[in-house]
Amino acid sequence: MTMKKRSLKNYTLRYLVVAILAVIALWAALFYWYIIEEVYDNIDDGLKDSKLRITREIKASPELLETGQYGIAQFRFTPLPGGDYSKKTHIYNSMMYMPYDDDDEPVRVLQSIFKENGQYYQLEIYTSTVEEDELLEDLLTALVVLYLALVGSIILINHFILRKAWTPFYRLLRQLQGYRIGSGQELEKPYGDVREFDELYGELRAMTRRNETIYTQQKQFIANASHELQTPLAIAANKLELIMGEGDLSEDQLVRINDVNQTLHRMKRLNRSLLTLSRIDNRQFQASETVVFNDLVQESLADLQILSSHKNILVSTENNGSFTMEMNRDLAVILLNNLLKNAMVHNPEKGTVNIRISDKELSIYNSGETPLDPQKIFRRFYKDEQNPNSTGLGLAIVQSIVSLYPPLSVSYRFDRGHCFLLHK
């Protein structure tokens, strides 16, 4: 299962939005509870105070006991039938009709029972109180506004502050995306106040420099090794040639020396191919000109004529357009020669080679029975078992040349024969 990846900025935001919601909800519950407690506490104090005043007032004016209905006074007395009553005071919430807005409104009522002149009375005092549902509603509205304001400002802050803070990071990232080993390009130091990004830059620069050095050393090693092999190879091969020219050898000795000589020359070709590869990879073919592949194909075919006529291969060319490239001429020659030579060599006796050229494509088709593995043929030292003399580098060289000149590409497919396609 793959998680949908988010940008860093949205990553924290997602959690913040949920967390703030939870915090605000919890805070609202506590705040509400606390405020209500405080309000009731205040109201109750007032009610108790009223009760005290009223009970005192009764001593002076007992006619107050006659107040049987709530009037202006907001209290009433109800004489209770005989019996024993608890003198406990209750305070509770209730609803009461208020003519001013023609509706029941919440009230806080204090209910107390006391004895006056041997008669039990129930005293009820009310006072208007908060409408809890309206309070809740108001509170909720306020909280929603607060929440939105918070989230909005966090998004804005996140956007601007984080964007500013992470700029060096994204700049580094873009440089890394465009980074190719061997190009020798240095990472630019991104400006910013974040220490971690400076450290990241420092480490990345050290790493790329290390890699560049290793890469250069390796390339240099291949080039040097190939160079250094040339002279000993020359000495060995030439000494054998001298021996062969001396003339007092038996046939068997001569043939055996020649075998060794041929092996040395195979090594020489291998070595040259490696050198060519390393020169291509080291971009030592700098000069560039407009190369018309149609013409090069004809030149190359003329060079290879000895091969094609020897195997009685029928070669045909279809020019449906002009395939031109801005590139190094020597490389273009190597590229075409390798492809065409391949088409001749991996071809049965009396086979065919068909070259089709258009403005965008150049295809080289040759007869063949067994498909090749398109994944492997362009690799270095991938060898055709039937041809022990092949260096296994021809198509690797083709691949190396092609990759120097994007958008040029080369591909292979099998369609009742081998087909190599150059595309630009």
Partner: protein
């Protein structure tokens, strides 16, 4: 005729010297930049074989010196560097030819002969072997003064043989000299055979006093 080999690899100097002395050249050698410069300044040579990587300096600088001294010596660069740029630069600086290491001794012979012949302003411009006369400049062949028509490859083949007469030339060497780099395949040696067969037939029909003999399937020798 005198040849100077400028090369720091003693073994290679040895084989080159042996091969060239067989062709009756007088061969001297120098193994570093300064001794090479001394010899160039002090003596005249018909041909200088110049390695580019030398102890004490770059072979291309030696080449510039030779040209500054207005020497008539033919110069063939012999290098393991085998880089296109070196080749172009060397030829631009006035080298007569460029031979990449490793090379066949027969090819060295052919190149040395060509270079010396081209340098000689008033001398013999043709190469003759018995009654065969080869004119490399016009790419024509005469047998007993009768012109013999050869195609391009056949001419190259004959030129290779007349510059290396009575010597065994291996098939690999022939294939590389005449057909260049395209011959690195197993069946390349077969078409050397068919090409030689054609050349022999033409030489025989023209009455040439020379024969190309196969030597045990290893190579050929013109006698």
């Amino acid at each position: 005729m005198k040849i100077l080999i400028i090369e720091d690899e003693k073994e290679l100097v040895g084989v080159m010297q042996t091969a060239l002395e067989k062709e009756n050249y007088l061969v001297e050698s120098a193994s570093d930049f300064h001794s090479a410069l001394d010899k160039i300044v002090g003596y005249e040579y018909d041909c200088i074989l110049l390695d580019l990587m030398l102890p004490g300096g770059d072979g291309l600088d030696l080449l510039s010196e030779i040209k500054k001294l207005k020497k008539k010596d033919a110069v063939i660069i012999i290098s393991a560097r085998d880089a296109v740029d070196d080749k172009v630069l060397g030829l631009d600086l006035g080298a007569d030819d460029y031979l990449a290491k490793p090379f066949h001794l027969a090819e060295l012979n052919a190149r040395v002969k060509s270079a010396i012949r081209r340098r000689k302003q008033h001398g013999e411009q043709h190469i003759t072997w018995r009654n065969i006369l080869v004119d490399p400049e016009n790419r024509t062949v005469r047998v007993d003064r009768q012109e013999l028509a050869l195609n391009r490859k056949e001419f190259d083949l004959l030129y290779y043989f007349v510059t290396n007469p009575e010597r065994l030339i291996t098939k690999t060497s022939i294939a590389e000299y005449v057909w260049g780099d395209h011959t690195d395949q197993a069946d390349s040696l077969d078409f050397v055979y068919s090409q030689i067969k054609n050349l022999r037939k033409k030489l025989g029909n023209a009455g040439a006093d020379a024969d190309i003999q196969a030597v045990y399937g290893v190579g050929y020798k013109m006698i």
